[in-house]
Amino acid sequence: MADEPGRNLRSLSLHVPEPKYRPGDKVSFDDMPLPEAGSVARPDIAAAPNTLRDYPFTLIRVLDPEGKAVGEWNPRLEPDRIRAILRAMTLTRAFDDRMFRAQRQGKTSFYMKCTGEEAIAVSQAFALDRDDMCFPSYRQQGLLIARDWSLVDMMCQIYSNAGDRLKGRQLPIMYSAKEAGFFSISGNLGTQYPQAVGWAMASAAKGDTRIAASWVGEGTTAEGDFHAACTFASVFRAPVVLNIVNNQWAISSFAGFAGGENTTFAARGLGYGIAALRVDGNDALAVYAATEWAAERARSNHGPTLIEHFTYRVEAHSTSDDPSAYRPADEGQHFPLGDPIERLKTHLIAIGEWDDASHEALKAEVTAQVRDAGKEAEKLGTLSGTAFNHGFETIFEDVFAEMPPHLKEQMEQSIEERRVAGV
């Protein structure tokens, strides 16, 4: 063996990642490498993955500091379309704000915001076809909103109220909306990723034209499901867009605990021979362009694309979380990619298609829209610990298509129990 007796070996030591800043530290992202907008070339959608090996190590950006759209990735959208995107992003933020307050007011048990990440889900919804199938995580409410899904429907789910199509069974925000091409959200991280691949494989096997897309956070890339999905997507060249939303944090764990110290998350694609792009996630046009590229690639039978959306989780993980315990309160303010809504607004103004007054009007309009929806939803009830918005029989329905005898028995027992308890 290689050991020579008496060989003087140094002690090993264990590296445990540490974020640059903890509460109390002074934050600066000045040394973060940020390629300029327009500096990255746009390859052909049919390009072989092995010709794309540099893409995971740069950052596709379209909006320059003045708000101009520059470079090959500029998706050249009509102003109306850009305004529609801006509107959906603004509406998403207003929705988040109201639902967050509703949770604080005790109207529901839980809520999760996507503040600062609105460009991703919203722009992507616009870049995908309406009937492409989305397998989201819990932070892609923007997909539903961009697809004009009913806010009242979403709120009823959050309130587990009488109008909740899911009968109060699911934790708030775990929507399911097949009609909107929005898959039932799971509480278990990452499980939707291989499911999206399976859906895309089925679509391909049947000669359909619809593709699938899925989303996980950077923290979730560590899960085995991520690997399963990438492996199957690679092997069967599934028509799927696999998104990683790298918002730097997974609850209290910074991206280093998912491998972010050593390479980018887009680089994971290299391991599978999957085309991989890395995108400024706060640049709605860059997100649109990358998604459009990936979608067309998939639709043309050139296989999957992995997209890392580089962004920042501005708010707490959820209403159960207090980030001031583990990161500087002002970290988000220093994050150099700015606010996605502000950036798109600036762009529209720069091209002469928007102004501050229209923006204020938009904000007022979406706020009103959310408020009206909120009122309507609340008419159907909110969650409270002691009121039961759904009949006890609903607990037993839909476990199976047909209720088997043992569930019927239990259902009867539970109804009798309710009678006895007088609730």
């Binding site: 399911s176 291989p194 399976g198 089925a202 096997a205 476990v399």
Partner: protein
């Protein structure tokens, strides 16, 4: 009608359903070109093409996860897990996803998948080719668990499982793929062709899930069993001359408790047999339900005859296996009371 062993019957079930429904899609490790390490999918790729029958990467989480996605699309996937011992990496997709999808989406999305997997020991497979994990799945709401004991049932139940609108675990007792086995490991095994239940229609038929079969009528004691153990029970009944009523559960969940209770109320005695480890095995559930329903009819304690609470040992597998001696002694005890 033709003679089939279990493998042929299972193969025929998939063939028949694939012919009728082009959404039925088979995937799993080595199931494609090769036709499966037990040959259960032999010939299917050739007949239905590579996009309906294909090999999968070695990732059970992916096999189940992808099948769920295909089911959400509208197909009827039939994933194979090469050995039941290897189902654990796919557990989260089964428990948290397949089993919950209809419920959590209120029927927006459903998951008609049938997970086929050979299980059980008696083939000198050691601890990772011999396990019987069915009990675990019976604890998971939203899953059905089916276990056939002969070629006729295997085909009929598998067809019903694939056609079922919800996820089904279909465990195949691999020890009896080629012939029934009464636990006498030192005697030559008879092939299926010598048995009535190997008379299998070539075409379509199904056996509804949730219905047990009384495979031997009797008055003295009720034996509850499934899979390989059905044959052990039949053998012991014959050898001992005890007039046992033997019930082959066929479906564990949903359980045919009516048939079971009727029998125990008649016999007043009950022995439960399974190969899985004892503690919290499905025998526990059977015992609990039988005493809940038949308490006042019971004349002796319900006995469980099971594998030991140990891993399945390689060389001492016949000492682990709940064979004729173990069952025979239990029957004696139960009859004595």
């Amino acid at each position: 009608m033709t003679r089939m062993n279990m493998i042929q019957a299972i193969n025929s079930a998939m063939d028949v359903v694939m012919e009728r429904d082009d959404g039925v899609t088979v995937l799993g490790e080595d199931v494609g070109y090769f036709g499966g390490v037990f040959r259960a999918t032999a010939g299917l790729q050739k007949k239905y093409g590579k996009t309906r029958v294909f090999d999968a990467p070695i990732n059970e989480c992916g096999i189940i996860g992808v099948a769920i996605g295909m089911a959400a699309y509208g197909l009827r996937p039939v994933p194979e897990i090469q050995f039941a011992d290897y189902i654990y990496p796919g557990m989260d997709q089964l428990i948290s996803e397949a089993a919950r999808l209809r419920y959590r989406s209120n029927g927006d999305f459903t998951c008609p998948i049938t997970v086929r997997s050979p299980f059980g020991g008696g083939i000198f497979g050691g601890q990772t080719h011999s396990q019987s994990p069915e009990g675990i799945f019976t604890h998971v709401s939203g899953l059905k668990t089916v276990i056939p004991s002969n070629p006729y049932d295997a085909k009929g139940l598998l067809i019903a499982a694939i056609e079922d609108p919800d996820p089904v675990l279909f465990f195949e007792p691999k020890r009896i793929y080629n012939g029934p086995f009464d636990g006498h490991y030192d005697r030559p095994v008879q092939p299926w062709s010598k048995h009535d239940s190997s008379e299998v229609p070539e075409g379509y038929y199904n056996i509804p899930l949730g219905k047990a079969a009384v495979v031997r009528a009797g008055e003295a004691v009720t034996i509850l069993c499934y899979g390989t153990m059905v044959h052990v029970a039949l053998g012991v009944a014959q050898e001992s001359g005890i007039d046992a009523e033997i019930i082959d559960l066929r479906t564990l969940v949903p359980l045919d408790i009516e048939t079971i209770a009727a029998s125990v109320e008649k016999t007043g005695r009950c022995v439960i047999v399974h190969e899985a480890t004892r503690t919290s095995g499905f025998g526990a559930e059977l015992s609990a339900q039988v005493q809940e329903r038949c308490f006042h009819h019971l004349e002796a304690p319900i006995e469980r005859v099971t594998g030991w609470d140990t891993p399945y040992p390689h060389s001492l597998e016949w000492a682990y296996f709940p064979g004729p001696v173990r069952l025979g002694q239990a029957l004696k005890r139960v009859m004595k009371d």
